[in-house]
Symmetry: C3
Subunit: 383 residues, 3 copies
């Protein structure tokens, strides 16, 4: 796909500022400020409304502190001055911005929400790929009583067990296995080699990336007669609408009832979610997070990369947990915690700061001790 | 499967206490206290003999402290009073308990070991699934000189290489690959897309869940002539009887000899076990643990979630390592350690506690300094 | 393969010291000092040039400190005395050493570089396996316009999409999926069930072990109109020559441009590399490391096991990061850091040491307080 700068501005609903010759330039891709060429559009996200990363792969809004990148006044965020300097050096053919930048030679597409415009621009210039497949590959093994909706696709070598249902326009990748009785809704995409065990339910518009495992038996053992005996897992997994999950994740089935991933929750790669966990709506779970058995997460919870939650705890709505934190107890709604064991974020940072001052504190202690000695000596002399 | 409460009591060898009409109620599942309906049986595990979780997915007995949930007198365990209050509100049709609870309207199934009875009840009410498959799927690719025992099954698209042996009643899932010369014993279950490289040995009654990888080449390089050169891994992996392993795990093969997982050891999801590691019998390895090369673990070791072990260390029998700990040196049998770097658990908690008191200590230091100043001033005045 | 000790010495270019009868002994394998039998050769790596492990599975040279094993004067390295004692007890038929050891009964193969000789010996005695396959398995599904070079192999059930190119002598394992337009160079090995998404480029001599995922969509969302909306990932992944990667890894594709893994970089199992990360040449990334979006790593960087990097930071050439460290800011070339949040290694160890002395410091503070009280009381008495 190619558009002139002017056409792209129209497509994005952007106000266009720039030389009219420059605005006829062909744009065919989005690029980073540093590397974009003259046929690419770049962008500057609004520092006042910036989504920021928090650990292996995760994103969230207006966070700050270690692993929570400062978005506005933090040292790690580029100042406007530096942003503009970089923009001026950029070879990009045009730039998407939230506010007009004075003295910039290249065309500016001024939009209300740079993030939304960026998504749109990336969609406009998405790589051209074959249309999604339809129908059942002849090498797939589909049970006679499985129901594959019209417009759904089942890839090469996939195995669809008894009584499975696959909804309209859903795509089951090559090498996938969908176990007995499991249901996949409409417009889902399960990429190659995803394994869904029996009795799991996947809603509509769900994406599960390659090599992820849904419905494995959880890690629940009782020590009886000298051996660890597995507690049977009679329950399933329920993944609600619009959940998107990365590659090589594991979601264990419940002992009874369901392990639940709430609607609109997004999960990064290599995440472990144990049996009977219940996750609310619109959560962000970054890479390599581990959530132990029977945890309950509210809505809008953000777990940064490599966080671990102990079992059976409750994490309130909107809680943000900093990268690598280890949470051993329940956290009330809205709190931000950090560290292992995790504590309230400000307290955690204060402790970290004071810990770094320990060498100085030890020195002070020695000096005080010497001053006391002198005072004691003086006292003894007098007595 | 449906049983009356009375039939279930008989099946579990339980003493039955309750109204005879209530005891004729049909039970068809196990449920949690909060959510069980009238056709479900719930349970209260004995707080005095409670298996407790320790991090992403793991279980163990009588642990306490961060990530080791207090089982008896800890704040996080429900007291009997609260348990009974919750039980009285429960809609469950019956309850499995270790001791008779007075004033409870619903039938009670009193058993000696609630955990064992729970396992039995979950087995009674397990979901009805097709019988395990038998025979070789026509789409599997099985080497002519491989030996597949009678009653064993090989799933669709699985690849069984030269001289592989699969024992009686073992099930190799769809999309699995079993490399040259590898042996799988009796009654094993390798779920879909498990990859076992060449020259690996898997005992009897072993479970390996989906997308796990056994026998990958370990991370061993020598820097020679300006490049990292791989140290060949001539050894294999030996997984002993009754080992159960989660999904998306990696067990590397040895450089020479075998990486060994001892009999009855249970491993959670996304666990990394490096080359030449030797793990004893009956260990519990929770989710996302990483064990570096050539570590030796004794019997009954418990590693909570996200623990990391440095290479070439020895972990004695019965050692328990708290969640997210980083163990950099050998640990003697029976010890409990916590933290990164890990230290003895009580010391670790004392340090964590004192660290939190740092703001107060700094304040005290300042006050002492002022008091000394006053004393010094007084002394100077006199002189 | 069997060689006499003398033949092996010749093969390794080693100076041979030993009884001539002993030197005619047959050797058929490499073994560890403790377990090697009389038909095995063992080795003692030179403590002055020793590659050491650093966390779940990783190796590096001359590191020290927690998770960085001391190689020379550290307590965890065997002294020469102990090494020699162990060697004398070893049943090995011969030993590869860097310096002649006096009073040792068994033949010694003295070489300049034990690590290089060990690699050679392991290659000599590598297990006999079938020759690598060639050609396209009839059950593979290869697009008509894909180009599979002569001598390349495509395994059972693999799926090769439109316009994919596979170079000479490369082996695509069973169950792999290579997405549209992706290119794999010469002499590569992708083991079973590896998934490579569309528009990815893999150089020559690359190894990717089983169940790894290349080119998954990264974890990038913008919160728009009350929901997390995926930022499209139009970019790809570029894996350069001689990269070797473990099992169950995830490398996300870029939003634009490429996620890049530099030539000769080695990656362990279960590693997460997020979108737009750029990794230099010859890096070592140990097991379960997580690298967040848009990080830039220089050449020769070493990340020990379970390290996490926050997004958008730069790690200079030759930086070494200790196991489980959490790096929240850029690190200059050549630095060694440790801890979470990570700081300069020596400072980190000093802080850890002082933290352990906190109980003593608290005691000292109390004693000082008492001494001051006494001084104050004495002063008050006088006044």
């Amino acid at each position: 796909m190619k558009l002139t700068v002017a056409q792209l501005a129209e497509r994005l609903g952007a106000e266009l500022v720039g030389d009219s010759a420059e605005c006829r330039r062909q744009i065919s891709a989005v690029g980073a400020v540093e590397s974009a060429g003259e046929n690419e559009v770049t962008f500057v996200t609004d520092p006042k409304r910036n989504y920021v990363h928090l650990g292996p792969g995760s994103l969230s809004e207006q966070s700050d502190g270690p692993f929570f990148k400062k978005s506005e006044n933090g040292a790690r965020t580029l100042t406007d001055v530096r942003r503009i300097a970089r923009l001026k050096q950029s070879h990009a053919g045009a730039v998407i911005v939230a506010r007009r930048i004075e003295g910039l030679a290249k065309p500016q597409l001024i939009v209300k929400d740079v993030n939304a415009a960026l998504i749109e621009a990336l969609n406009v210039f998405r790589p051209e790929l074959k249309a999604a497949p339809e129908g059942i590959d002849p090498t797939a093994k589909v049970a006679a009583n499985a129901k594959i909706a019209s417009g759904a696709a089942v890839g090469a070598g996939a195995v669809i067990d008894d009584r499975v249902e696959i909804g309209e326009s859903s795509i089951i990748g090559s090498g996938c296995k969908i176990g007995e009785n499991s249901k996949v809704g409409r417009n889902c995409r399960l990429d190659s080699n995803v394994v869904v065990y029996h009795n799991c339910t996947i809603g509509n518009n769900v994406v599960i990336q390659a090599n992820s495992t849904i419905g494995s038996t959880g890690f629940g053992y009782s020590f009886i007669d000298g051996a660890h005996r597995l507690v049977p897992h009679n329950g399933g997994v329920s993944i609600e609408d619009f959940v998107e999950m990365g590659a090589n994740c594991c979601i264990d089935r419940a002992k009874f009832g369901n392990t639940i991933i709430g609607a609109g929750t997004k999960i990064d790669n290599l995440v472990q979610i144990a049996h009977n966990v219940v996750i609310g709506k619109g959560c962000l779970i970054a890479g390599q997070v581990g959530i132990s058995g029977s945890c309950k997460l509210g809505d809008g919870v953000v777990l940064a990369g490599q966080v671990g939650l102990a079992d059976n705890i409750e994490i309130g709505d909107g809680v943000m947990v900093g990268a690598q934190a280890g949470v051993s107890h329940s956290i009330a709604a809205g709190q931000r915690v950090f560290g292992s064991p995790a504590t309230e974020r400000k307290e955690a940072f204060q402790i970290i700061g004071l810990t770094k001052r320990l060498p100085k504190l030890v020195k002070q202690l020695k000096q005080l001790s010497k001053r006391i000695e002198k005072l004691e000596a003086a006292k003894d002399n007098k007595e």
